[in-house]
Structure formats: structure tokens, C-alpha cells
Amino acid sequence: MDILITGILLGATYSLIAMGLTLQYGVARIMNLANGEMLVAGAFGAFWVFTAQQASPFAAALVVVPGAFALNWLIYRYLLRPLVRRAKNRGMLEVDSILATFGMSFVLVGIMLMVFGGGYFTYSYLAEPFEILGSPFALNRVVACLVAVAISGLLYWGLNGTRTGMALRALAVDPAAAGLVAIDVPRMSAFSFALGGAVTAAGGIVLSTFLTMDASIGVVFTMKALIIVIMGGVGDVRGAIVAAVILGLAETAVASLIDPGLTLAAAYLLFVLVLLLRPEGLFGRRQS
């Protein structure tokens, strides 16, 4: 039971890491290697609000989330759109976006280094036991889980219950066809990229309450997010969440029952196996 709850809490953490990238990669087709840096930037915002303003780190969301949305919109509009336009096919766009966002991740690390310095930043917020079924769990992780549920619920509703969401899903399936049915593809792509950035930054705020970070740690999150997104199936928010929870459960189970030294090995093994058995990911559509 402990394993189940701990695993779900960890899975929620992972889904916070990965949800933004699902939108950016699945819909806007940008394999964003600078995604982790956006997460760290969000975390920095929360840290600053907590230490300098002495306010709840969640207050940072009021500034960080719209800020990240705007920033990512601009990034897409002025840096990525030209790549989309010049790419002849999806493969070329993939190569170009890998190269471009790799460069961006360096720029973002550089900026954060200038602004915040290179040291660790960590603080204590809601780091108190919270009893579930008689066992203590970290309250900040429980809160993170609730936030993850809220964000994914909103996204799910947004994607499935609104016109914009339908347009986004159409885009995820086939941008060319989406263009034919009068969906404004560039605008929708920019929107989903920006939304993905905002969700990622929001995840960063939540994660900063229990993870210790520094300016150059973003790549760790990017890699995890890529793996979760691919495992879940590109462009499927539901898949990303399921994959995140599966990874969380697997890591916790291995850590508790076998050997904590093998947790990450188990996670990657699981990922590798999923891809071998279902190359399109858990919820992906098979391409012929």
C-alpha cells in the first residue's frame, strides 16, 4: 500500500515534468530540448518568491505561468516558426528543432546563471508528514499530486471539451489535414507550444517545493520528459500521465522490494521494453 501511494506521488511528479512537453512535441511537433530549463526557470521563480518575498511559492504562479506562456509564444513565433516553414518534411523539422532547442537550452542556462548564480537552491515548504492510511507522506508531494491531477484534468477537459482543444487534437494527428479543415495551424501550434511552456513552468514551481535544483540541472528533466512522452505515445496527454504513473510505481516498487540502486535501471528497462513491444508508445497510433 505504501508502495502504491509513494509510487503514485512520484508518478505525479513525473507527469508534471512531462505534460508540457507532450503539448510541445505532440501538437506543435517541436522536440524541445530546452523544456527542462523552462521547468528550472519556473522553480527559480518560486524560490525567489519564497525567499525574497516571503510568500507562498505558489503565488509565483501568478507571474511565472503567464510569463512562461508569453515567452514560449515568442520563442515559437520568432525562433521556431521559421524552422517549421523551411522544413520540407517532418524528419527535417525534427533535426532542426533538436539543433535549435539545444542551442536555446544553453542560452537559458546562461541567463539563469547570470541572474541567479550557480549554487543550489532549496527551501522548505510544506515539508511535513501527511498521514494517508496511517503512513506518513510528504505534504508537499501530496500537494504536487493534487496540482498534477488538477492540471491534467484541465488539460483533458480543454482538449476534449472545447473547440480549441479539438483543433489541437486534429493538429496532433495531421497538421496538413488540419489546415484543410480551416484550422489556423501556425496559430494553434504557437498556442500549444506556449501552453506547454506554461504547464512546464507551473510544474517547476511545484517541484521546487521538494527538489533541490541548480541552474544547469534542466537537462535531467528534459530527458525524463522525453522518455515519458515517447513511452506514452506522442501527442497524447492521457498516455503521458499513464506512463508517468507507471514509471513512478515501477521505480518505487523496485526501490522498496528489490534494490534502490536499480530504480533508474528498472525505469529505463521498462521504457525500452514498452518501445520494443509497442513501438508507437502506450497510446500512440501506429503509423503505417
Binding site: T6, G118, P136, F210, S256, G261, T263, A265
Partner: protein, 399 residues
């Protein structure tokens, strides 16, 4: 902020150039190179223990007019710094660049065991003394034989494990704890070495290891391991950990209510951020390092560190790094900028440092702090390999 130093330096240099020559022509500055991570996995640690001390030292030396040379003249210090992005290949290149392009007089040793050892052949090739203040290794005899200009100051993994065993046994003798130890380690170089050293030592010391597990670097949730350790019902908890996980393990232990009377985490326990994060609940926590806070030198150092860099120094590698620079400073003042002479001088002389008097025996300092403990908001040394001023160990109260 290093830029600020550079700017100040530039301003000072411009000023010196503009001033009419009053006294003896101010000699060329001594060029000091420094290469360490500003980015990459080790950047967080370097930003706390390495760079601020380099900055502090350069600032202080120049503020007092520069290094006082044998001939009575003063020479200021000019710092050239590079970021190796925690990549040993970059470290090697940067040291080569400092040696052959910038032609610096001396080079501050890089940061961390791996980067120092990667750079050691280059230091040796050009005869630069390498006072490796942030390296902990058990291969000191081999390394010093191989590289005649390398110096170690921070200690050996065996000594660290020995001291932890001693501290635990002291508490046991006082009847405060039993002999059950839960031990975890991060599966990266330093963590693996420490755990490896500790296993036989703990056994010989009569301590029973009831839980012994590693976890990968970058693990995001350490609660299973803390739960596992707690379930083994230990009297003492020892984590050979790195900075990010030291924070995570401590937070999780607090949440799980791991009520052991002896609680040890390794690197980063001595960081001011550790106290900043956990406040009063870290009373009685043991960690790697420690200092003698009662000496006036240490007090002055801590105050200056805060004043110049705007941050608190940590209570382990920070003063050791600074002391390494003091060694360099005193050696240059004694024999000049001839690197060979400086190296020989370091091997023989005794130095007055913030860590107390330092004398290298076989190129390494044999008296160093190994275990410190948070007592009333300060991290005191409680165990060492023969240094005076150790505080008595206390049992950890509840959280």
C-alpha cells in the same frame, strides 16, 4: 559577481596606470589561473565551496596591496578564470590554455576529485603546484608518487569512514545508541568509495550494518530508501550522499520520523543552505567535514567571506579551499614566482592558515577534520585525525 571582481580589478589597474609613479614602479601583477565548473553537474557545489573563496582571496590580497615579495615589493594578483562545464576534457584544455596561452604564474587546483585527477598530468607537466583542496581519495600515495607537485588537504575516504565509526562508538560507549547502523550511499564515485571503505571498518568497530543500499545519482524520490532504512530499526543512520540527495534524504527522514540518535549525511551537510532549509531541526546532525569555530582566524574568515561574497561559507571545504590559497600565497611571498621553488617550499614549510597550522607530509595534510556536527546552529568539528578543538559529540534530539 566574478565579473564585478574583474571590473574592480580593471578599474584598479587603470587607476594604477594613471597614477604618476610615486613609489617603486608597481610590478606586473602575478597571474593566477582558475578553472572549475560554473555549469554542469558539479556547478552547484563549486558555486558554494570553490569560486567564492577564489574571489575572496583575490580580493583580500589586492586590498592589502598585493603579495609581499621577497624583495619587499608588492605584486597584485590578476585572476583568469574558466568554466570547464564539469567536463574533464575541458578542464585539461583550460589548464593547458592557462599554462601555454595565458602563461599564468600559478593555477588554482580544479574542483572535485575527478576533475583534479584529470588535470594532474598537465599540472605536473608544467610544474604547477596543484593544491587539490576538494579531492578525497584513498590513492594519495600512488598519486603523489606519480605527480610530484600535487598536494592533498581534504583527507581520505578511509579516514572519513574511520571517524564516523569512532563517533558512533563514542555514542555507543556513552550508552546513547546501540550498534545497529543503516547505511546508504549514492552510486557515484565518491559515494561508492566511502561505502566501500566503511563496510569493513564498521564491522571491525563492532557495528552491525542492518541496511546497506545504494541509490543512483539523480534519484527523484528517496522515500523508499528512507522507509527501508527506518524499517531496519537502526540506532544510527549513515548516508554517503551528494548535495541534492543530502537535502532530499534529510527532508524525507524528517517526514518519516526517523528517530535515530546518530544521524549522518555526507557532502552538503556543512552547507549554510542546509541550515537555511531545515532550521532548528538539524540539531545534532553529523556530516562530513567540520571546522574549529573557536579560533580567531576562523571567525575572521567567516566574517570576511560573508562580507566580500555576500554569502556564508560552508563549514568544510570552503575554509580548506581558502587555506589552500593561503598556502600558495605564503609560498609565493617566501620564495617568489619560481614554480619549482614554490613547490619545494610547500613540501617543507609550515603554513599559517584558517584551518590552523598546516604542514604537508608526503604532499598531503594528515591532520584534517572528518566529522562535524550541528550544535546550536553552528557546524562544529567533532572528530578529526588529530586536530585540537573538537567539540564533544551529542546525541541527536528529536526532529
Amino acid at each position: 559577481m566574478y565579473r564585478r571582481t574583474a571590473l574592480k580589478l580593471a578599474a584598479a589597474a587603470a587607476l594604477a596606470g594613471a597614477l604618476p609613479l610615486g613609489f617603486v614602479h608597481a610590478a606586473d601583477p602575478i597571474k593566477i589561473g582558475a578553472v572549475a565548473p560554473k555549469t554542469g553537474p558539479l556547478a552547484g557545489g563549486a558555486a558554494i565551496t570553490h569560486w567564492p573563496n577564489v574571489q575572496l582571496w583575490v580580493h583580500q590580497v589586492n586590498e592589502r596591496g598585493g603579495l609581499r615579495m621577497k624583495d619587499g615589493g608588492r605584486r597584485k594578483v590578476e585572476l583568469i578564470e574558466y568554466d570547464d562545464r564539469t567536463n574533464p576534457g575541458e578542464t585539461i584544455k583550460a589548464v593547458e590554455r592557462l599554462a601555454t596561452q595565458d602563461k599564468v604564474d600559478f593555477i588554482v587546483a580544479p574542483y572535485g576529485t575527478g576533475l583534479n585527477l584529470a588535470a594532474a598530468p598537465v599540472f605536473a607537466k608544467y610544474g604547477y603546484p596543484q593544491i587539490a583542496c576538494t579531492s578525497v581519495t584513498d590513492k594519495v600515495p600512488e598519486l603523489t608518487k606519480r605527480y610530484p607537485s600535487i598536494f592533498f588537504t581534504l583527507g581520505t575516504t578511509t579516514a572519513f569512514a574511520n571517524s564516523v565509526a569512532e563517533v558512533l562508538n563514542k555514542l555507543r560507549a556513552e550508552g546513547k545508541i546501540g550498534n545497529r547502523v543503516a547505511m546508504v550511499n549514492v552510486a557515484d564515485a565518491f559515494g561508492i568509495e566511502l561505502a566501500e571503505a566503511a563496510r569493513p571498518i564498521f564491522k571491525t568497530a563492532g557495528l552491525e550494518i542492518v541496511y546497506d543500499r545504494s541509490y543512483p545519482l539523480g534519484t527523484q524520490d528517496l522515500s523508499p530508501i528512507v522507509k527501508g532504512a527506518k524499517a531496519a530499526n537502526p540506532d544510527a543512520f549513515v548516508a554517503w550522499s551528494y548535495p541534492p540527495d543530502t537535502f532530499a534524504i534529510t527532508e524525507q527522514s524528517k517526514i518519516e520520523g526517523m528517530n535515530v540518535k546518530a544521524y549522518y549525511t555526507a557532502v552538503a551537510t556543512a552547507f549554510p543552505a542546509y541550515r537555511g532549509k531545515f532550521g532548528k531541526s538539524i540539531e545534532g546532525h553529523l556530516g562530513a567535514g567540520g571546522v574549529n569555530l573557536d579560533t580567531s582566524e576562523m571567525k575572521a574568515y567567516l566574517a570576511a567571506h560573508k562580507k566580500v561574497t555576500g554569502k556564508d561559507a560552508d563549514y568544510w571545504a570552503s575554509p580548506v579551499t581558502y587555506a589552500g590559497l593561503q598556502v600558495l600565497e605564503q609560498a609565493i611571498e617566501a620564495v617568489g614566482t619560481d614554480r619549482k621553488a614554490v613547490t619545494e617550499y610547500i613540501k617543507k614549510a609550515t603554513f599559517k592558515t584558517v584551518m590552523g597550522p598546516w604542514k604537508f607530509v608526503n604532499q598531503s595534510i594528515h591532520d584534517f577534520w572528518t566529522v562535524g556536527q550541528w550544535q546550536k546552529g553552528l557546524f562544529h568539528g567533532v572528530s578529526s585525525t588529530g586536530l585540537p578543538g573538537a567539540k564533544p559529540v551529542i546525541a541527536k534530539p528529536g526532529w
